[in-house]
């Protein structure tokens, strides 16, 4: 860096550049929140779906699975599990319910969470709501 480029110029680029792009980021954020109602399936968020999200969180499901591609990469994507299970809520609930307590020898297995019927229904409803968010065509296919 030649002498013509001084420290105070560098400082101004830092403050000016950061402030400008922070502002731009806030503008884009604002615009996103305006656009979301048409995309995020918020109409489907019933008290049961909200309850299901809490069950999802309080059992750290994201510690093994991804949801819309975010989370851990140890277990299948669940953003489209509803479609993968043939649009069947019962199939989702049945799967979670039937996990063996002691696992499967040598293989990965989901723990048995001993959910109540209400919890099972709530978490399935949460996954159904999630599966209808407009994700710009992701994932590429049904396998997630």
């Amino acid at each position: 860096m030649a002498q013509v480029f001084t420290k105070s110029m560098a400082r101004n680029i830092f403050y000016g550049g950061s402030a400008f792009f922070l502002l731009l980021f806030l503008v884009l954020t604002f615009d996103t929140t305006k656009a979301l109602p048409d995309r995020d399936n918020r109409g489907a968020i019933t008290p049961e779906v909200a309850r299901g999200k809490l069950v999802w969180e309080q059992n750290d499901c994201v510690g093994c699975h991804t949801l819309l591609g975010e989370g851990a990469y140890f277990a299948p994507e669940l953003g489209n599990v509803y479609q993968r299970f043939g649009n069947s809520k019962d199939a989702i609930m049945g799967f979670i319910k039937s996990r063996p307590k002691e696992g499967i020898p040598g293989r990965r297995s989901m723990p048995q969470f001993n959910f109540s019927d209400e919890e099972l229904s709530a978490i399935a409803e949460f996954l159904i709501y999630s599966s209808k968010i407009n994700t710009a065509g992701w994932p590429p296919n049904i396998q997630g």
């Binding site: 550049g17 954020t29 979301l36 750290d60 591609g69 499967i104 997630g144």
Partner: protein, 467 residues
């Protein structure tokens, strides 16, 4: 050590290293669970091991950042720390909170931990990296506020340098953006959108300021290059970090329900995110080449150069690999992401904390400027073992990721997730083997604190060129 109160950094560094060990042990457990699915099941399920692995990482880096700050701010401000007692108190609060939280993860099911800590009253648990009980999160905020107050007061009463100013802005941003950890709406898209305000704006935003400031401090010390030159570089690097990184957040907004225009904003700006990391590499090597003195702590210089190179590779190159939206469409949420995450965290943040520990710890332990040659050689072994094994971990995960993406998402007959996992297990075994080598490197690292500690300090050979 020029100021007595710099000594408060020492317990922070020790706690950081202990948690680092825990992080690696749980990493090895997870790595094994990838191939031996029922390992430790159901006692330590994968998600629990993962919480311990990621949370101890974050917390030990925070311990490292705080230790670094307590060490360098008095020296930069040319005054004693405002309140050393407060720093000691916060250390214990943070350590006890960390220990209790990790014990909670391991001893009771996560749902029970949520119940015990009253999560339903103020739900913040169960989101990736932010799994801590709400009460722990409140504790983190209190510790951060007390820390910022202490450091801010110190800077205010002393000399104000660019290094301490940049560090302070970074730390302030860290505390500020953490507050979004308390915003957990029922709407999944909003939840995810603002979750990234913690995660992305930390690691690809304000943490880069902290990284830059610590690196600049160490380079000033070990090279003796004029502060004016280094500060100018620092400004340009962090300017580029924020100019690219803020809008670069958009690369997380491709597929989570957010508008499609983020595919343009996110791709273009995050494609430029490697620039500040590249500049950092040029900067570090330039300063070392133009050094005005040879510092006897050669291993600290090695860590500083290593940080610059590995941060560029891990955060810059491996980030770029999958950041363009047409590529990310296929790689999103695959082992490619894991590969990038490992090398980026190691290269940028693990290595910068190990750099400042390497530089400061000899003084904190009573040396005048460096450890003995024997100790430094041991530490260099740990540098190469950990760094090279992390390169291999990254390469194996990348291999796993490419195959996973092809078999599951690209080929004519896409296969189910678990069927694909079976077919790529060779890469997971290799990753685990590389992880064991990393552990050997970590053992060497710990050993370097004990080996040769009774031998005389290393000195500069008059004709030798260090580093």
């Amino acid at each position: 050590m020029q100021y007595k109160s710099q000594a408060v950094a020492k317990p922070y560094f020790i706690a950081a290293i202990i948690l680092f060990v825990a992080q690696i042990l749980f990493g090895l457990i997870m790595g094994l669970q990838y191939v031996v699915g029922d390992f430790l099941f159901p006692e330590i399920p994968f998600n629990v091991a993962r919480m311990v692995h990621t949370n101890t990482l974050i917390v030990w880096l925070l311990f490292g950042f705080m230790g670094a700050t307590y060490y360098l701010v008095p020296e930069e401000a040319e005054t004693e720390l405002f309140a050393p007692w407060l720093a000691h108190l916060m250390f214990w609060i943070f350590l006890v909170a960390t220990g209790a939280t990790v014990a909670g993860y391991l001893l009771v099911p996560y749902a029970t931990l949520a119940e015990l800590t009253g999560n339903e009253l103020f739900p913040t648990m169960g989101r990736e990296f932010l799994e801590q009980p709400t009460i722990t999160k409140i504790g983190i905020v209190i510790v951060a506020l007390a820390f910022l107050f202490n450091v801010g007061m110190t800077v205010l009463k002393g000399r104000k340098t660019v290094v301490s100013l940049v560090l302070l802005i970074g730390l302030l941003g860290l505390a500020l953006f953490f507050l979004f950890a308390f915003y957990v709406p029922d709407n999944l898209v909003l939840d995810k959108f603002f979750w990234w305000w913690v995660v992305h704006l930390w690691v690809e935003g304000v943490w880069e300021l902290i990284l830059g400031a610590i690196l600049a401090f160490v380079l000033i010390k070990v090279t003796g290059v004029d502060r004016e030159v280094i500060e100018k570089w620092l400004y340009v690097i962090i300017a580029m970090a924020l100019i690219t990184g803020l809008i670069g957040t958009g690369h997380h907004f491709f597929w989570i329900g957010t508008p499609e225009y983020w595919q343009w904003w996110g791709s273009i700006f995050s494609a430029m995110e490697p620039i500040p990391f590249f500049m950092m590499t040029v900067f570090a090597f330039n300063m070392v080449n133009r050094r005005r003195r040879n510092h006897p702590n050669r291993v600290a210089t090695l860590w500083a150069l290593g940080t610059a190179v590995m941060a560029f590779l891990g955060a810059g190159v491996w980030g770029f690999l999958h950041t363009l939206s047409p590529v990310n469409y296929y790689t999103h949420g695959s082992q490619i992401t894991a590969a990038h995450g490992h090398m980026a965290f190691y290269g940028a943040y693990v290595m910068i904390v190990l750099t400042i520990i390497s530089y400061a710890m000899p003084m904190l332990r009573g040396r005048t400027s460096a450890n003995s040659n024997k100790s430094q050689v041991m530490e260099m072994w740990s540098f190469w073992l950990m760094t090279v094994s992390m390169v291999f971990i990254t390469l194996f995960l990348t291999g796993a990721g490419i195959l996973q993406v092809y078999l599951q998402r690209v080929s004519d007959n896409p296969q189910p997730f678990l069927a694909v996992q079976d077919q790529i297990s060779l890469f997971y075994w290799l990753r685990e083997a590389a992880g064991v080598v990393f552990l050997v490197g970590l053992v060497c690292y710990i050993a370097s604190f004990f080996v040769g500690s009774r031998e005389p300090e290393a000195v500069i050979e008059p004709s030798g060129s260090a580093a």
